[in-house]
């Protein structure tokens, strides 16, 4: 692995003097976390039928935060029964206006408790408080607020149709944006009149269980929302349950394919939000400093645990050295460490398992001849950490270029012509997102229309909004979440 001294020093900035940060940790005093959590079924916290629990660990301290119930097939069955009853007795018969009212309540209560949620999210998942405070939690509330308004207006979304709910939705979400992903799944499902059994990811169940408190306090009819916690087996029990009408999954492409196969012939509807390996393309006529900021945000946001992360950088040859130097300078200033510190840019890797995956890919990269450069950041003694990493001297066929790393790892390739970069950009099985940096409008549209992906950011990256549909082409998924288009997967039209 290359160390900083190996890198050309020309035009490098010196950060060794005059820079110091005082610790600025967010307080944990006002947070209450129970020692043990059961499932949330039929409006109540219930003990797991088989009685098993697993610890949830803070990835930044390796401390146990709480005990979480292991969901068995029997727990899932109880949750589905409760969801089915709530669907046929209450929720599908309720007026859209009243459904909307409940969702508005939930949105408001998330806003009221935003700080508490942000702190727990950072403790449990490792993401910087800056991101959980400014992105995850506000967007989760906004999502409920947006879909709340749709609940009594659905016929305007589908001209010539009278849309009807599907029934009971089984939803399985990932660990990278725990509360936000729950909001993405719950809000459109509930607004359209479906009831839900949702499983949070096993490493990040806490904010979902705190959301259960809000759901209780909002007086949502029992059974409309059920949470069953656990790992892959629990998810499989949801996918294979006979009385579920629809599966919505966000996670890896490998698991997405298993799910698509598992429900073949069952008549279950399916939305998949899977992996990505997004190209981020920077042309010589781009505003380079802005582009560098965008590249940094594109890959190091949330430690790179983002399915739409801009993990493949394509730099036009004429500015390749300049961009590389600026990137090296910039990652030297990124502060890696305590997620609860307000100055932290890059938090902890979500789990030991994920850290191992990232390190395995770095090793593969090295073995394939890549040049790997990491910032010389000081890392805490405990916890799971990965310094921001640049990978150069790679080509299309390298595994680290083709496969999703899901960590703070950016590969750098160069190109000469727009045609060339378009071909390289599209040369993966994925098609979730992409970025383009240039000051020329016609070039932007040439690129954004040519890249086969669901979300394109031009002169920006990693922006999200409840009104904006999100989802992938090719092996990045089926269907869209967010916006008007995010209603479709939850309705019979």
């Amino acid at each position: 692995m290359l160390k900083e001294t190996d890198i050309q020093k020309k035009n490098r900035l010196d950060f060794s003097t005059g820079w110091s940060y005082d610790p600025a940790p967010e307080s944990r005093d006002h947070i209450t976390i129970k020692e043990q959590y059961g499932h949330f079924i039929n409006g109540k916290f219930t003990k797991p039928i088989e009685g098993n629990y697993f610890p949830t660990i803070s990835p930044s301290t390796e401390e146990e935060i709480s005990q979480i119930a292991v969901g068995s097939a029997a727990d899932v069955d109880a949750a589905v029964k409760s969801a089915r009853k709530a669907y046929s007795k209450t929720w599908s018969k309720m007026s859209g206006r009243d459904r909307g009212r409940y969702l508005f309540r939930i949105a408001r209560m998330i806003q009221e408790r935003a700080r508490e949620f942000a702190v727990i999210e950072s403790m449990d998942g490792g993401k910087p408080i800056r991101e959980s405070r400014d992105v995850d939690i506000p967007l989760a509330a906004a999502h409920f607020f947006y879909y709340a308004g749709w609940a009594d207006k659905l016929e305007y979304a589908f001209p010539g149709r009278k849309p009807k709910p599907i029934g009971v939705a089984g939803q399985i979400i990932p660990w990278n944006f725990p509360l936000l992903m729950a909001a993405w799944k719950l809000a459109p499902a509930l607004a359209t009149g479906n009831t839900v059994v949702l499983k949070p990811a096993e490493t990040t169940s806490l904010t979902c269980l705190k959301l259960a408190e809000i759901i209780q306090e909002a007086d949502l009819p029992p059974g409309v929302v059920n949470f069953v916690t656990g790992a892959g087996d629990t998810g499989a029990a949801i996918v294979n349950h006979e009385d579920i009408d629809k599966i919505a999954f966000t996670g890896s492409t490998a698991v997405g394919k298993i799910i698509q196969k598992a429900i073949a012939g069952t008549g279950k509807k399916l939305t998949l939000e899977l992996g990505g390996k997004a190209p981020n393309i920077i042309f010589e006529d781009a505003a380079v400093d802005q582009a560098v900021e965008g590249i940094i945000n594109g890959i190091f946001f949330n430690q790179g645990h983002v399915c739409c992360a801009g993990s493949r950088l394509f730099v036009q040859e004429s500015i390749a050295d300049e961009v590389r130097d600026k990137l090296i300078d910039r990652i030297a200033t990124l502060r890696v460490g305590d997620p609860l510190d307000k100055n932290t840019d890059v938090g902890a890797i979500n789990s030991k398992e994920q850290l191992d995956t990232i390190n395995r890919y770095l090793e593969i990269g090295l073995n394939e001849g890549a040049d790997i450069f990491q910032s010389s950041c000081e890392l805490p003694e405990k916890g799971y950490w990965c310094c921001p990493t640049l990978v150069a001297n790679v080509s299309q066929s390298h595994r680290i270029v083709q496969e999703e790393v899901f960590g703070p790892v950016l590969t750098i390739q160069t190109f000469r012509t727009p045609e060339e970069v378009l071909e390289k950009a599209n040369n993966t099985p994925y098609g979730l997102s992409g970025g383009v940096w240039t000051d020329k409008g016609s070039k932007i549209f040439n690129m954004t229309s040519g890249i086969k992906a669901g979300v394109l950011w031009a002169n920006t990256f990693n922006k999200f909004d409840p009104t904006s549909p999100f989802g992938g082409y090719k092996e990045s998924g089926l269907g869209r979440e967010g916006g008007l288009h995010g209603l479709t997967p939850y309705l019979n039209i």
Partner: protein
């Protein structure tokens, strides 16, 4: 004067704008009420793969045509069908239809082409959105074709049934590979000739005749196919297709009923949208 011997027609496949026989050299005999009707090419896996290559090659160019141009080409299909009305009716009759049924089907097929031609530059306006995001960005979503679509026609589909699968796909910029129903390939294969003279670029629509049981796996497993459409009710076939589709996360579009004449069921833009992806583009607003 002696009676003139008529010239019999050879029915061939339609791949990449050309009319080859099956590379396999195989055929099956189509028989009707009056016995032998025609020899039909029995398309092989290799023919199918060639068709997918042709469809992929044609896709980006077809999608890049202006919506107006795609509409005109679909309308041109209707015009040429009108001119070949008698031939199509005769072929539907050879496949077993009565005179009345056959002319009703051809009329409906022509009308269906005109109907979907009109959608070419409108579904984007109905289903595209400008999204009022909370940050200072301009953000819009538009439908785009998913890519290459394979189509397994049900037994009930001949001319009208085929068009009900193909037109919504191609009006939205997709390219297709179709397998005709075993007992009803005549009018669909003649349609290939109609398409060929309707300014539809080669490769946009590829028509194979053959055995569904032989090609169903290939139609649903090919890694360069983005969506598979299946018409019919065979649960075993549906399960197989959906399982195979998971290998590269294909869209699966099922059509279980077979009333191709019902306008309410068939004539709407939601059948176009089943084969569209939504693409959302962001750009900052500022100086």
């Amino acid at each position: 004067m002696s009676k003139r011997l008529d010239v019999k027609k050879t029915y061939k496949l339609y791949i990449g704008g050309a009319f080859p026989r099956s590379e396999s050299g195989r055929y099956y005999s189509l028989t009707g009420k009056s016995g032998f009707t025609a020899n039909i090419c029995l398309a092989s896996r290799k023919d199918f793969r060639n068709a997918v290559v042709a469809a992929r090659k044609a896709q980006s160019g077809w999608a890049a045509r202006s919506a107006y141009n795609r509409g005109q080409i679909l309308y041109r299909i209707a015009e040429i069908m009108e001119g070949r009305r008698d031939q199509l009716i005769a072929e539907l009759k050879l496949e077993g239809a009565t005179d009345k049924q056959a002319s009703k089907e051809v009329d409906a097929a022509i009308d269906r082409a005109v109907y979907f031609a009109g959608w070419s530059d409108k579904y984007q306006q109905v289903f595209g959105t400008v999204n009022p995001v909370a940050s200072s960005h301009f953000n819009f979503s538009v439908p785009e074709p998913t890519g290459v679509v394979t189509i397994l026609l049900p037994d009930s589909a001949s001319l009208l049934g085929l068009l009900q699968f193909v037109l919504p796909a191609i009006v939205g910029g997709n390219t297709v590979v179709v397998l005709t129903a075993e007992s009803r390939p005549l009018a669909p294969l003649t349609l290939g000739e109609i398409l060929h003279s309707s300014d539809v670029p080669g490769g946009v629509i590829n028509i194979l005749s053959g055995y569904r049981s032989e090609l169903i796996s290939n139609f649903s497993t090919h890694m360069d196919v983005n969506a598979v459409m299946y018409g019919g009710n065979d649960e075993e076939a549906i399960t197989l297709i959906q399982k195979n589709a998971a290998e590269n996360v294909k869209h699966v579009v099922l059509r279980k009923d077979d009333d191709w004449f019902d306008e309410e069921r068939n004539e709407h833009p939601y059948v176009i949208m089943e084969l569209q992806e939504i693409k959302t583009t962001w750009h900052p607003v500022g100086i």
